[in-house]
Subunit: 460 residues, 2 copies
Amino acid sequence: MSKDNKMDKLVSFCKRRGFVFQSSEIYEGFAAIYDFGPYGVELANNIKSEWWKSMTQFRDDVVGLDSAIFMSPKIWEASGHVKGFSDPLTECRKCNARLRLDTILEDVGVFADEKMSEEEINEIFDLNKDKIKCPICGSQDFTPGRKFNLLVQSNLGNFTGDWTKEPTYLRGETCQGIYVNYKNVLDSARVKIPFGIAQIGKAFRNEITARQFIFRTREFEQMEMQYFIKPDDYEKYYEEWKDVRWNFYLNLGIKEENLRWHKHENLVFYAKEAYDIEYNFPFGFKELEGIHARGNYDLTQHSNHSGKDLNYFDPVTNEKFIPHIVETSAGVGRAFLAVLSDAYREEGEGDNARTVLKISSKLAPVKIAVFPLLKNKPELVKKAREVFDELKMNWKCEFDDNGNIGKRYRRQDEIGTPYCLTIDFDTLENDEVTVRERDTMTQERINIKDLKDFFNKNIL
Amino acid sequence: MSKDNKMDKLVSFCKRRGFVFQSSEIYEGFAAIYDFGPYGVELANNIKSEWWKSMTQFRDDVVGLDSAIFMSPKIWEASGHVKGFSDPLTECRKCNARLRLDTILEDVGVFADEKMSEEEINEIFDLNKDKIKCPICGSQDFTPGRKFNLLVQSNLGNFTGDWTKEPTYLRGETCQGIYVNYKNVLDSARVKIPFGIAQIGKAFRNEITARQFIFRTREFEQMEMQYFIKPDDYEKYYEEWKDVRWNFYLNLGIKEENLRWHKHENLVFYAKEAYDIEYNFPFGFKELEGIHARGNYDLTQHSNHSGKDLNYFDPVTNEKFIPHIVETSAGVGRAFLAVLSDAYREEGEGDNARTVLKISSKLAPVKIAVFPLLKNKPELVKKAREVFDELKMNWKCEFDDNGNIGKRYRRQDEIGTPYCLTIDFDTLENDEVTVRERDTMTQERINIKDLKDFFNKNIL
């Protein structure tokens, strides 16, 4: 399978089997937005649940939070997003395509620093205009570049007619909701440094060009954790969190050969260190998660802008300080795409050909499929229903009585269901069912009364 | 506890114990938006998880979906929200308070129909002006009423300078994402009528006045299910869903005497029937969930506006029809507030006084608290850690070694932890721990090796 080919196959698979739909499809779509279908929402929920459990349930130094998408606009001024969070935009005068100026410069080998002013980047743009063509229509006629702010603006809470002068913002990252609740958490949750706050939630960015399916979208979901530490402790905890986060993906079943570290060379001025975990997507190694030592910049900014004392007082050493932060920042959509890309296989030939999602059982959208051998034999259907009704209380199950068993296996293989279970005429005699495993395709007979123990042991 | 008093107590409890924080508090707040703190996010997640399991896992006729907050603006034109989804707004000329005109009319006994035009409602307004006073400052000088659209507008995906002419909308209800994906689900999920699509997600409304804590907020989370049926079947399924939804709240542990039905008398023209489940909040009986027989209005609108055929073809009867819909629409914030209000108790007197959250164990933010009897005895702390590390793999646990056991019990009672478990010196001899139950406050000694069975049986 070539890499291009694989991406096309994944996109088509996602639609066909109800993992991901293009937004507003019956209305000809809505750019850079996607919906999760019936199996997709289960997979996404399972990824989020694994993250949440590993962060908040399995450790006792991290608590959860769910701050709202909307916050005071002052927060985005303090964070620097209102002024500084922008990409340079140009438009092709011929086909009206909107393009990221830094990207089309990069395509001709010219590097534009994100800190450059509008004038600076336009100077470089003018110098290189003879080399640059519109990637859509080939024209060389562009509007001058302008900085376009990525924060999405809205009129929530604004009841005046002309509200663009005082917009409210949809959050551009979830972590700001953690920073501004740090004091609330300190005052209510009995935490002591070092401690973390973990949050899963939507964020929004007005990306000029959104590409690569669900890899970069204007609405996306983040899983972010901010770990509050003593100023001098960052090296120790930074290394610890790098390990923890790397192992998280291995625990999801991602192959280690498809992961690598990428060290950031151009750090923002306050950052001490920044690494990405990259995954080998069909379009190359790209960021899956960022792990950042952010110094005390965030809390210092919010302390200065809000006028509130955000110092931490250490009751043991009597020290007072603004905590430093190690951040881990992952995306649900990217983890989703990495998991699918890693697990998707086409195997066998002819009658034995199958598409199979070799996904960890803890992530599988459906854990167990239950089949009566024949749909027109009421006694088989009844027995199968009984087994289904029992197992569904513990696991996400699917009942399927349609077509021959081979076809039913193929349908479940494709969505990654680890076990299929068939009720046949022998079952009516001896209570044994055929349990078939997805990856090895081996079958064994198990008594109905032993099924719960079997699945408790084999489904993670 | 008087009702006013109770609401004040709940709000203060929510902040003190990390259930709900006012948004952007260090920046003096952001109106009508709230954040869930460490225990709040666990409770909200547990409510959502119970809804999701009861809707999608325990039944095989409902599939899940997670459509994005943003969709094509055409969807909100088709649904009628762009034109019709508005409240009448007036401003006090003296104190600049923004007020809902229909509400202040209601306060003087005048009923303004929501279908009234701006002119019609201003006529009534003028006729009654001598009776109406600003509830904030008492002035009688108001601006004329104007219809204010509740859909929140944004510039997502719009890169022009003057984007208010072509805004995109944050969804005002999650169900539209279900309607426009109905065909995708039909084509991918092998569903047959009758079937449902369930979704949990955020929605946004520019409420003019938001009141009553998390009961009515501008950003809120919905749990909506749309059940697609044959045109003539609505009575049967409507009654069935009324039962299912009523029982859902009983299963959450809500007392039945605090629930009641409210039948809508003024139906929108396409609706066949509409009932609310109301809960007896501290501010009176108010809507917790709506159950609506919506006819085939929604799919018909989207079929007409998109030009796509949204008919269902029944392979058994060869009939072709636009399905009718029974909707169940609940709010996470309202369920959260109902659960807290129902469970919050102040008991005992003097040294025996305690606040206790008598919440179902399936909803409790923490299931088990683990205490070493004394924090300065390493052998007790070590043993307690071992028990904690074992149990946390199955249940959300909390470790607490601070203060005397009585105080630790009180802290856990207040957040509704069903079981506290103390490791003492006897434990080191015989492996038995004291397990104390929240509601009865009874204690029993249980061997560590039997704890899992005990909690498996007693925690839902």
